[in-house]
Amino acid sequence: MIPTLSLRHLIPLLFFASGLILVTAFYVVGRPATIQQARELALERAQIDIQSLQGRLNAVLFRGDVRRIGTDIFFAATNPRVEFLAVVEPDGTILSAHRSKLIGENIFTLFTDVHRDTLAKAITRGRFTLEPVEGDENRVIAYAGLTILDAPGQERYVGLVQIEDFDDLIANMSRIASFSSELMLVLIVTLALVLARVLNRRLSTRLVPLIDGARHIAAGKENVRIGLKGEDEFAELSHAFDDMSLQIDHNRTDLIKTRDMAEAANQAQSQFLAGINHEIRTPLTGVIGYLDLLSNQNIPPRAEGYVAAAEQSARSLLTLIDDVLDASRLQDGNNTLKLAPVCLNLIVQQVVDGMMPDIRAKDLALGIHSSQSDPIWIESDARVIRQIMLTLVSNAIKFTPSGRIDISIEVNPRADGRNDVLFSVSDTGIGMSDFIREQLLEGNDDVLQGSNTTRSGLGFSICRQMVLLLDGTIDIDSHEGQGSRFLAKFVATPCAPQILENSMERLSSLDKRRLNILCLEADYLGRTLLENMLQNLGHDAACFADADSAFESLGHTLIYPDRPRFDLAIIDSEIVGIAVNDFIARLRRANSTYARLPTIIISTRGEDERTRFTDSGANGFIQKPFSTNRLSQEIFAATRVSQIGEHGDTAAE
């Protein structure tokens, strides 16, 4: 309790305790000493009393005036301390006493405390004696000798015995000592109370504003000032407090400015990255698309290699852009999970499909393993999982010059009804040292910089943060020259299998017909690429650079019988003059014929934008750049029509 007691209670309490100790010490030491002193004083008084009486009695007795004994005894006995007073014969017979009824009694019978020997010494030797009563130190027996002159020359000797009770005297002395202690106690209590009161008022008026000020600052209030006047410690503390508060205000202002600047910079960076993304993806869409088209032409075998190298370089550049954008999003803290049913097997398949050219190029063996015979469905964010898988598989390919890569997915039910999901990628590649492994696990990709061991130095770091986003862990088991195994582990809720709209296995059994497709793409290169791809897929494409032209063409299909109506619209999200959402809305409203026209959005924006477009009425979404195959999948998903051109076989890959 003491350590937490406030000052205004602690100080008076300590004062009170000190006083109490002082008073107790006085009681323990001072009072007994006073009593002892009182007893010594009592002995002295008893001696004076009996010597005085002895003198008076001896004087009258020596004159033979025996009748005067009674008078002197009366006067002596008026002293309230005198309990007993008698003149006695040597054998103890009382000759005269303070009570006449005692005359003739024997003193030794009456008082056992009166000692025969002491009385005898007093009578025969004239020895004066004082002794306390046994067991009662406050009572004193005094013995003295008297001489009676019965006749000239006839002396006889008797004794004088007096018992005095000093109880009152000693009690009074003790009371005086006690009273001073009590007075001291009263003084201490009074002072302690006054001290408590003064401290209470002082601290209430001086300390409470400081406490309130601190609370206001803690609550985030600005411009808090205590402003205590005076020259005491509290005023000093108040000034220091006000200075601190002022400094906090300055710091807060600076921090707000810095934060605003940082946010502005961040926004600018995001805008810049978005712009860069768009600017790079647009030409890359052309490059990859045309390389894709070119690879399906009859070209010399030597040129095939050139095309493949060019395509790989373009895809590397694309991956770099993806990494940079992902890193930027993670730094912004905008990367929140969007939970939806996810098929792990499908994601693996899609990732592997994308990587197949690289795997084939290195002639690596690939093994895909699942803990279950059926597809594994969980509630999670497909985009995040895809990113993790993509990074791990692409790294495995990158650092495995030869040998094999094994990908495995595994789910283990937990007690809480959820699943432990494990995703691992093993390779027989170059492996890594323990130092690099530890640095990677701590999120430091810089160790890989300059070592020519990664594409951007961002991949694993992003992958690791993605795993953390899933509340999961990632571990690396690697030995230099012996390959590596990356194991991502997270917890997810299982969910029921969903119908796969774009299942490749179903393509061959579905509708195959030529579609008339309206394409709206501002970029010339993109427009011609899209037209070529669609023609390659066996469809007809009418491409427009702006919305007005597209709407005009749509109108022509309604009023001119020779103009076939459109079965599908593929619209670039960056069309000039109108937002894509407004374009779709206008399209739906324009005519009942096109109210349900399937629409696919192509965009340089990421997959995370898909929902935004589908919520606006679009039926599909493709991120640029894309392959003919990807285009075919999305067209099928939107129209249930498979490709009919020469490129159809590639979908089976």
């Binding site: 009674g70 008078t71 009366f74 006067f75 009824k101 009152d168 406490i211």
Partner: protein, 335 residues
């Protein structure tokens, strides 16, 4: 919250402080009560005063308040009281009446006993009644109770002191004067009366015929009343307790040393009636005025005999100590 807590703790401190202060004040008050010291009461060894000594020996006084001192017969008790050797005394009303100095005259506090036949008028055989005393020589100490008894006897029989020849003799001298033939009759008490009876004297009158007029009283120095208010209350209360003890004390059991044995006491009380608390209460009442009347009568008689100075008030009665003690006594005995 802060202020409330402060208030609560401060009030707790205040309560503690007040409690300690109250305790100390109580202790101090006790000390004050004891500061008046002992009340010293002087009394002759006389049966009428014995309840005081019995109270002393049986510790019936509250400790620290009353100190009993036995006064030897030879001592001038009046002087001891006047000089402050003692604060209070048990004495006859006569002594108070003939007190020489009105300013220091003791104040009457209560009646201890009254003579119920102890004081007598005796005469030679042949003198048949008080009326026969006309013209006779009668021995009596005029300024004492003996003179009063003689005067009252004569008065009740239609005579006065002028009708007889009063020979002023002390009590102890009466028998010798009777034997020598100097006197025909005597007014006295105790041993001379018994001796005269043995010599054939006849009893003409006794104090039993004037009940309540020959009294022994408890008196106080005027200034000691203010100095020892508690002491007087304790003394009277102790006396009342002793009276009760005396009434119930077994016949064959001795009192403690210093007090008379019950048998001796009862012998000495022959002709004397101890005054009970209830009797005192009746005497003290101003309306019935028992004690006031007795004192006034005695006072006027004393003036008439020239014993008391004319032009002064009769001895004063202060009923306060008795009343305070009686109230406590009633509480003690459950009435």
């Amino acid at each position: 919250m802060f202020a409330m807590m402060s208030l609560r703790i401060t009030s707790a401190w205040l309560r503690l402080g007040i409690a300690i202060l109250a305790s100390v004040v109580a202790l101090t008050a006790c000390s004050e009560e004891r500061s008046e010291g002992y009340l010293r009461i002087g009394a002759n060894p006389w049966a009428g005063y014995e309840p005081f000594f019995i109270a002393d020996e049986l510790n019936l006084f509250r400790p620290g308040y009353v100190h009993m001192v036995e006064t030897p017969q030879a001592l001038g008790l009046s002087q001891a009281l006047r000089n402050g050797t003692i604060d209070a005394a048990a004495m006859t009303l006569s002594r108070v009446i003939r007190w020489p100095d009105p300013a220091s005259r003791p104040v009457v506090l209560m009646v201890l006993d009254h003579s119920n036949g102890l004081d007598k008028v005796m005469a030679r055989p042949g003198i048949q009644s008080v009326a026969d005393l006309r013209g006779r020589r009668v021995g009596a100490e005029l300024d004492t109770v003996n003179g009063y008894v003689l005067a009252r006897a004569l008065e009740l029989n239609g005579l006065s002191l002028d009708d007889v020849t009063v020979v002023n003799l002390e009590n102890d001298e009466l028998h010798d004067a009777y034997v020598s033939g100097d006197i025909d009759a005597m007014a006295g008490f105790g041993r001379p009366i018994a001796a005269a009876r043995q010599d054939g004297a006849v009893e003409l009158f006794s104090s039993a015929e004037i009940p309540g007029e020959i009294i022994d009283i408890f008196v106080a120095r005027p200034d000691s009343l203010e100095e020892h208010p508690m002491g007087f209350e304790e003394a009277i209360l102790g006396w009342m307790r002793a009276m009760d003890t005396l009434a119930t004390w077994p016949e064959d059991e001795d009192f403690p040393s210093g007090a008379l044995r019950p048998g001796v006491l009862r012998n000495q009380l022959d002709g004397v009636q101890l005054s009970s608390a209830a009797n005192n209460l009746n005497l003290m009442r101003e309306d019935t005025g028992g004690l006031h009347q007795v004192i006034e009568r005695r006072w006027q008689a004393a003036i008439a005999r020239g014993v008391a100075p004319a032009g002064h008030d009769a001895p004063r009665i202060d009923p306060r100590p008795f009343m305070a003690a009686y109230k406590r006594y009633l509480a003690e005995v459950g009435r």
